[in-house]
């Protein structure tokens, strides 16, 4: 059992580090991104990676409450991406 537990713990640590690195790279693209589309894309990527981080936190702590959080973050991320894109496209969100 200890070998499997060790493997799971190491996989969790590696997954945390990788998703955090992905988040940092998306943040760099948000900073340097030359066009507006790139910035919207970087924000959308950061929301998706944040959902991954919340799910990893739920596995690490063994708590069920985090899934409601990640569902809410997923919905808010989609709505904010569409709102930002529509604002750039039409100059207004709800016409």
């Amino acid at each position: 059992m200890s070998m499997a537990e060790d493997f799971l713990n190491w996989a969790l640590i590696i997954a945390f580090v990788s998703v955090a690195l992905a988040q940092i790279m998306a943040m760099i693209r948000l900073w340097i991104g030359p066009s507006t589309g790139d910035r919207i894309l970087a924000l959308d990527t950061m929301v998706v990676n944040a959902i991954g981080l919340i799910v990893l936190l739920g596995i690490a702590q063994g708590m069920r409450i985090y899934f409601e959080v990640s569902l809410l973050v997923a919905m808010l991320g989609f709505v904010s991406t569409v709102a930002y894109a529509r604002f750039v496209l039409r100059g207004d969100i709800i016409e």
């Binding site: 059992m1 070998m3 499997a4 537990e5 493997f7 799971l8 190491w10 996989a11 969790l12 590696i14 997954a15 945390f16 990788s18 998703v19 690195l21 992905a22 988040q23 790279m25 998306a26 760099i28 693209r29 030359p34 066009s35 507006t36 589309g37 790139d38 919207i40 894309l41 970087a42 959308d44 990527t45 998706v48 990676n49 959902i51 991954g52 799910v55 990893l56 739920g58 596995i59 063994g62 069920r64 899934f67 409601e68 990640s70 569902l71 997923a74 919905m75 989609f78 991406t81 569409v82 894109a85 529509r86 750039v88 496209l89």
Partner: protein, 133 residues
Amino acid sequence: MSFAEIGAFVVGICLLIGAFFALVGSIGLLKFNDSMTRLHAPTKVGTIGVGMLLLASMIYSWVFGEGWSMHELLIMSFLFVTAPISANFMAKVNIHRRACDTPPSPPRDETWSTLNVPEADRDIEETVETPVN
């Protein structure tokens, strides 16, 4: 090997695959050199990476927790449905802001509707320089 050991290995492998895909998606977002090319990396690869992380969480709660949980399936289906929609919106933003090559002209109309300028705004369009990017 007991059931819990096999479950722990499966969860770990799913976690590693998902984290690898999420990392590759963000590397593509950072390294590609065109707006439309950059759109490819995170909207497909990153979504499948987070889907694998959610699958790992599902198997974890099945093996170690209290039975199957449908929350992750809900989040996964929501992500998989909304990712192409937001990618389509961002591609339209790229076309609208002229951040990419202009697509070939449509067969019947004069121009694409997102590039069309209304009749009343023609003189504004000519005097004000449209911002590139």
